[in-house]
């Protein structure tokens, strides 16, 4: 009998595939190797723009910069939104306006240079210098004289009320009393930067120098920069010179810039990440139903709202805007359309902004009243109401929400609504130039105080983008900055928010929740409404397999 070549080839091929399959099964996963070496692998969203604290504005940057730098105040290990000592050991203020910070004497930069009060003054002068054109310098405007210096009204930095009586003391005077001030210092705009390292590569206010790159970055945080490959990973290693190095358990953190939720989920399930940045929106309802141990959702200090362009009729009438708001069933939107566990907004400032500032309960679904208000505004049954357009960025989820609005307003009010999607930069430009009717937007708090939300709707604020302004509202906000008594201050801010919700230049929709996937080995990871992380409290336990999805 003659053997056909096929009869030999096919079994050989099958055996080859089987052998290959077996050989690939024993590869240790990235997680197993990382667990053994105390290396934390984190998904970090979009690629960061820079590690220079004065050149960036985003959340992904915040998460890396707060690992390599440290401000006067740091996040607390148990509640990262609470304040713990950072470079400052202690601080005090008798009137919440004049603050004194006592810096620790053992603080050094990662190259061994002592870290002094002068480094902070240098950093604040740098970020406030008009020549640097930092996009986030406004965060320091609370400091007396900072705004005038930043706007170029004076060239003399000594007009800014920050002084260093000695190398380990800083005295600051604010524009008004601000009990939330220490919490604000956890933001990277207030961090120190190393003069000696920056000026090796250029002048103080020179942009685009290489000082914040691997090999040259000198920092003062619990970790130092080891490597950064664009769109690939950024790795930071434990800083042995950090004052609290004994408490730091992780040897290394690797941040992966993963800008696609589906890919990130696959990488997590493939045992390559300890913590993800997001969960794909479409998958959140599934995870919420299955409740695997590695899925968690926590509130963030963030509100999703829709801007109304009040310079364009008919949106210039408060009654029209109220009608639009009352015709929205936010509960149905959140529970049946988005299904991501967000909280339907009943006010503007989200819960968690301040312990003594409960969210207002003013917004709701009342189609009857909505129709009545629209009729009072001169559009009974939507008659004579021109077609308006909702502007969103070009994401599917934004479109889904806009379609819900479109249908609600057609059904309840009888008005025609179109949807316009634009690419991100164009969408931002359209809003800023008031070239829209209604636009999707959101705001994330910078510090735990209602002012971080209410402030953007002041008359003419750069982030207002609605054309709306009301002297009474601005006066309330001004008044709140000179009151020390907390209950009284909260009352004034509440009055302001009530004014805002009567006029509704923005229509709040929901308060966001953050969803992540996190492996069981990760210990000491605490939720924070502001996205603060206390990396020195995090450690990795022994490897555990992921629970199966039911």
């Amino acid at each position: 009998m003659k053997l056909s070549p096929r009869l030999i080839l096919i079994p050989l091929l099958a055996a080859g595939i089987w052998l290959f399959h077996q050989s690939r099964q024993d590869r240790p996963s990235r997680i197993q190797v990382a667990d053994e070496n105390q290396v934390l692998l984190i998904g970090n969203g979009t690629e960061i723009e820079s590690l220079d604290p004065h050149m960036v504005t985003g959340q992904p940057e915040h998460r890396i910069i707060s690992a390599v730098f440290e401000g006067l105040v740091g996040p607390d290990a148990v509640d990262p939104d609470a304040d713990a000592p950072g470079v400052a050991e202690t601080w005090e203020s008798s009137d919440m306006q004049n603050w004194t910070f006592h810096l620790r004497k053992d603080a050094v930069w990662s190259d061994g240079t002592p870290l002094t009060a002068q480094d902070f003054l240098y950093a604040w002068q740098r970020i406030l210098s008009p020549e640097l054109a930092s996009q986030y310098a406004e965060m320091l405007y609370l400091l007396k004289g900072a705004a005038a210096f930043n706007k170029g009204q004076t060239k003399d930095f000594s007009t800014v009320a920050a002084t260093a009586p000695d190398d380990h003391t800083l005295q600051l005077t604010l524009e008004g009393p601000a009990p939330y001030f220490p919490g604000m210092l956890k933001h990277y705009t207030w961090f120190p930067v190393p003069r000696h390292a920056i000026e090796k590569f250029g002048t103080m206010t020179q942009r685009d120098t290489a000082w914040a790159r691997p090999g040259s970055l000198v920092s003062n945080g619990a970790f130092t920069l080891k490597d950064w490959r664009i769109n690939h990973y950024l790795s930071v290693v434990k800083n042995p010179r950090y004052w609290d190095a004994a408490r730091v358990k992780l040897q290394e953190i690797q941040f992966f810039p993963i800008d696609n939720g589906e890919a990130e989920e696959r990488i997590f399930l493939d045992h390559q990440l300890h913590v993800t940045d997001t969960v794909p929106l479409a998958k959140i309802p599934l995870y919420r139903a299955a409740k695997p141990a590695f899925f968690t959702q926590t509130p963030e200090l963030s509100v999703e709202f829709y801007r109304c362009n009040v310079t364009r009729p008919p949106l210039d009438q408060a009654k029209v805007r109220q009608a639009l708001s009352l015709a929205l069933d936010r509960v149905a939107l959140v529970d049946q359309v988005i299904r991501s566990g967000h909280q339907p907004a009943t006010g503007y400032t989200p819960p968690g902004a301040h312990p003594q500032y409960p969210p207002l309960k003013k917004l709701g679904f009342d189609p009857e009243r909505a129709r009545r208000l629209l009729a009072e505004a001169g559009f009974p049954g939507g008659k004579g109401f021109r077609k308006i357009e909702i502007l969103t960025n070009s994401s599917d989820s934004a479109r889904t929400v806009a379609e819900f609005f479109q249908e609600s307003w057609k059904k309840e009010l009888g008005i025609e609504v179109g949807i316009l999607q634009q690419d991100w930069q164009v969408y931002l430009a359209s809003q800023h130039s008031l070239n829209y009717d209604i636009a999707r937007a959101g705001w994330v708090g910078d510090y735990t105080d209602p002012l971080t939300f209410l402030d953007i709707l002041r008359t003419g604020n750069g982030n207002n983008d609605t054309g709306w302004g009301k002297a009474e509202y601005d006066q309330r906000l001004d008044a709140s900055t000179s009151v020390v008594d907390i209950p009284q201050r909260m009352k004034i801010l509440q009055e302001a928010e009530n004014l805002l919700l009567d006029e509704l230049p923005i229509i709040p929709v929901y308060w966001k929740k953050d969803a992540i996937l996190i492996r069981p080995e990760v210990q000491g990871w605490r939720a924070s409404v502001l996205g603060h992380r206390c990396y020195k409290a995090i450690s990795l336990g022994p490897y555990q397999p992921l629970a199966e999805m039911p």
Partner: protein, 307 residues
């Protein structure tokens, strides 16, 4: 021949300058600013930024400055990735895209040409129909669908390779297979078409009538002729694969050039976008030149000097 190459290179330079200018003008004249972020900045900060980067100058002056910096290889910095020169960014992404794209190109040729040839030799029979059905499917399935499916099966289920990511030795395999399979389908269809036509040509009939061995006919005579349309296609294909694919790089999270193409345009990072578009144009010019030379060598009827 040398005159032909020289004239094509000069044409190529004109093409690259045109591509750089058009890229610049489309991005700069469109709405949006490279500095816009979710947080608005005060007007005086924006004015300072425009002054620092010369964006307050007339658009023609800006264009000229950028062209000069590219022409003198004094590459500008990226607007989004602050402190990085666009040359450094491309130098990081290029090896990744070349590895994945080069492997995909080989897969496309090594799989596509034999499949197309086998189909042509059995034209009309079952094997032809089956191969062409698979190829049609391959042309139709987008990498957005094929990529995640391949990643799920060979990454998450069988654990042959990492489901996504870059850094381990086998990480190029799945993205290359995704890109390669899709391109192989087009290559197979072109090979089959070219070979079918060639086998029906007069000189092949003559050769057959003279009793030349059938294997010899296909390998020596028909295949050369059949290659011409295929080679025309392979030039742009190589340029496209080597410069990276946005979808495949997103699905497999590769640090290649493809993601920069899209994000630089979206973020109005026009220096990076110009550099990428110029690179892509250069690759197209080079590969088209190679294609022309290869064709002249394969088919003496094409005389380069006459083109």
């Amino acid at each position: 021949m040398i005159r032909f190459i020289l004239s094509r290179l000069i044409q190529g330079i004109i093409v690259i300058v045109a591509v750089l200018s058009i890229t610049f003008l489309i991005i700069r004249l469109g709405p949006g600013s490279p500095f816009a972020s979710g947080r608005e900045m005060p007007e005086y900060v924006r004015e300072n930024l425009d002054r620092i980067y010369g964006l307050d100058k007339p658009i023609i002056v800006q264009l000229w400055r950028n062209l000069v910096s590219f022409a003198t290889f004094d590459l500008p910095v990226s607007f989004r990735l602050k402190g990085w020169g666009v040359g450094e960014i491309i130098a990081q992404g290029l090896p990744v895209s070349f590895t994945v794209g080069g492997a995909a190109f080989l897969i496309a040729i090594l799989l596509g040409i034999p499949a197309g040839a086998l189909a042509a030799l059995r034209a009309g029979k079952f094997r032809d129909r089956a191969t062409m059905a698979a190829a049609t499917l391959g042309v139709c399935v987008p990498s957005l669908v094929l990529g995640p499916v391949i990643s799920l099966i060979f990454g998450l289920k069988l654990h042959w390779f990492n489901a996504a990511g870059w850094g381990s030795s086998g990480d190029w395999v799945l993205p290359s297979v995704t890109l390669g399979l899709i391109s192989a389908a087009a290559v197979a269809r072109l090979t089959r078409g070219g070979l079918c036509e060639a086998l029906a040509a007069d000189h092949i009939r003559t050769a057959r009538a003279k009793g030349v061995d059938e294997k010899m006919i296909v390998a020596r005579h028909a295949f050369k002729l059949a290659c011409l349309p295929l080679i025309n296609y392979l030039g742009p294909l190589a340029a496209g694969l080597l410069s990276g694919s946005f979808v495949t790089e997103t699905v497999f999270q590769l640090p290649g050039l493809g993601r920069h193409f899209v994000s630089s345009a979206l973020h109005k990072d026009f220096t990076l976008a110009m550099c990428l578009a110029g690179l892509f144009a250069a690759l197209i010019v080079i590969f088209n030149l190679l294609v022309d030379i290869l064709q002249a060598w394969l088919n003496p009827r094409i005389r380069l000097s006459e083109k």
